[in-house]
Symmetry: C2
């Protein structure tokens, strides 16, 4: 009676934490004027075959359905985005600023921070090829992390330009069919002994290592840094040409967010993909695009490892789960009266709970505290008076039951 390997059960505490992540993501993306969309969790496998590098196809969670269709649980959101945008772009003014919070899947060996499913937020600006769109996108990526109480001491966004490398490969007259291989070697150079990378790069080792050692200058990246500086976000970024990213479809700026301590996998990654929509729509629609994804698993690990962020999450979770009022039925003759008040309070928007089955008064108060209630209302002998107890202070006051709503309004802020 276990979940499948690589899949998670979300008990209430886990789910509250996940909701906290989703809510913060949503609120932040909306502050940037992004609107939410979504697509199917299952897509034709062909959608991924047509656009992705070989790595992602091998890891697909794919199968043949009962109608003999080859289908895949989505490994990422960008192909669906390209499909939906190509089909509907005429209905929308450009640029589109769209975000989504899909669950994504891959069939691969489990590792720390890498399950067979995870949730991610995807944010994309479509129909604007300017550097301003790149800046807006990276700024959002930064603010999505800041929303959790993470600071420039906790994470950094490393920004590179794939175009810079393509220009270099063209200059060096490397044939196009070898670009992917070279870009992969550069991408991996940070995590491999230099000799191994040199072997892969061959005669290109010298110019490429010169760049990786800090000898590369990119005008575009300097402008990008200026744009983030105008927003006072430059402390969160670093130009780093060693970032290339695995996916084949990026055409310009690429970036990845990491924890400063280097303890975890990437928090987020993305870049510009100006050709993908054309490619997936057989050139019926051509729109430039820039976007990124940020997953819930590594982010969750960083929050848990960062005291300020952990504390912020804990108080949000409590706010999310605590009830407002607990009704204590001290005399069973008063149960009907309590139930009438229960409905009135809930209709007013209060979170209210009570003992469905008769229980001792002390036990009911104990439950009230466990559920995080701010006030308990006791229905007993004094009826038509009721006693309101503020649980944090223990202060009690007896009032006519008809005054309950107005009294509670002063005592508890509704959660909702």
């Amino acid at each position: 009676m276990q979940p499948l390997p690589g899949f998670r059960d979300f008990l209430p505490e886990d789910c509250a934490f996940r909701n906290y992540i989703f809510d913060s993501w949503r609120e932040t993306a909306r502050r940037y004027g992004f609107v939410e969309w979504d697509g199917p969790v299952l897509e034709p496998t062909d959608l991924y075959r047509r656009k992705s590098g070989p790595e992602i196809v091998a890891q697909l969670f794919n199968f043949t359905d009962k109608g003999e269709r080859e289908v895949s649980l989505r490994p990422e959101m960008t192909p669906t985005l390209a499909r939906v945008v190509a089909a509907h772009e005429r209905e929308f003014k450009k640029p589109l600023k769209w975000f989504s919070i899909p669950q994504c899947f891959r069939y691969e060996k489990q590792q720390r921070g890498r399950l067979r499913e995870h949730f991610q937020i995807n944010c994309d600006i479509i129909g604007d090829d300017s550097l301003g769109a790149d800046v807006e996108t990276i700024a959002l990526c930064i603010d999505l992390l800041r929303a959790f109480g993470l600071s420039e001491k906790d994470f950094v966004v490393r920004i590179s330009d794939r175009r810079f490398w393509i220009d270099l490969l063209q200059q060096e007259k490397v044939p196009e069919e070898r670009w992917a291989e070279m870009l992969q070697a550069i991408d991996k150079s940070e995590r491999e002994p230099r000799e191994k990378t040199a072997e892969k790069l061959g005669s290109l080792s010298k110019p490429i290592f010169a760049v990786l050692d800090g000898g590369g200058k990119s005008e575009k990246l300097e402008q990008l840094a200026d744009g983030l500086r105008a927003r006072r976000l430059d402390a969160f970024m670093k130009i780093d040409l060693g970032i290339v990213r695995g996916l084949a479809y990026y055409t310009g700026i690429v970036f990845e967010a990491f924890d400063r301590a280097g303890k975890f996998r990437a928090l987020a990654g993305g870049g510009r993909y100006d050709n993908l929509i054309a490619q997936l729509s057989d050139n019926t629609v051509s729109l430039p695009a820039v976007g990124f994804a940020m997953g819930d698993v590594v982010l969750g690990e960083l929050i848990a490892a960062t005291p300020a962020a952990r504390e912020q999450a804990a108080s949000a979770n409590a706010r999310n789960r605590n009830i407002d009022v607990y009704l204590v039925v001290a005399k069973e003759e008063r149960r009907q009266d309590a139930l009438a008040q229960l409905q009135t309070l809930r209709d007013q928007g209060y979170r209210v709970d009570f003992a469905i089955t008769p229980a001792k008064v002390g036990k009911q108060f104990q439950t009230a505290e466990q559920l995080g209630a701010r006030a308990a209302v006791l229905f007993g002998d004094e009826w038509p008076q009721v006693t309101i107890k503020t649980l944090a202070t223990g202060k009690q006051v007896s009032i006519p039951h008809s005054d309950l709503i107005s009294h509670l309004a002063g005592l508890t802020n509704k959660q909702t």
Copy 2:
């Protein structure tokens, strides 16, 4: 470039409507003291084989994964709930009041209101076998619909008791292996000619039709009605022994919500399932349970067909999507200043957008209106003054840019 048959793309407007449904569901469930949980979208097929009637297994969206596991996209949430509760129940005080908003799947022919995927809210009370738990559950079902501005004129919850029928079958000495068949015949009787049902029921036709024609009396259902009356929710319910429900695991109260006009499929359905957790845990854990599910598709159809509910949804969607402030860059020299303010406003929680690429001032104001902004702030010749325009009234005021935040605070309520 289409989604798979039976799967939906959610363009921003569709997604806003879906979020409105989810948000209302969440808020209402929390008012009832329910906490959210979730499970995997993919489960071992065995989990469903072990508990469900034959109908659901034939409709499963199941396949064999790359590791030769037989797996299914979840058709419903209750088996996962039983699995998770059986594994973790010791960690929680009873009763559990849990809800979840899963996406569920089935592989069957598409019909109106019935796709291959849909979202549903599941609400369950576990560990309380009293009628009070049944009442609390049905009251929540009613309030989940009321939350959308639907009234007793729009929907009704029809409540029955499967135990009543089982008692009758036992009285009539029907062997247990034929119960499922009889219950199915009763369930379908409303939608079939009476002769056809009579044929299935055989010698039981007389006593069963007597009940269906109003001759049945259930003490338990009368008590249930009293419980809903105490909450002033009795106008939303009707005792109706013709409801049986297809799933094999119900053991007591069963209920279904329908639109009053009878135009749509069921809005929600559920009941008591006291043996399922024991059955799925090989009797290691035994807990009584009652719960229901409500789907997003039929509910969405009813909202769209009900003027008051439609209007409430539209204004919620607008609140959800509209931005607060649009920054108009009238002079490109002022772009950097606008970007600095952009960040300040967003940091304060405002939803702010602007023209990433230079555009004419008139066009920028037009975009501001399209995005639903309450105010536009113009950065131009008067710098270090800026002009704030309230878009609803057209009123303009020129202020020092350093006073922007305090001025906006009076003009727009932050959405967030």
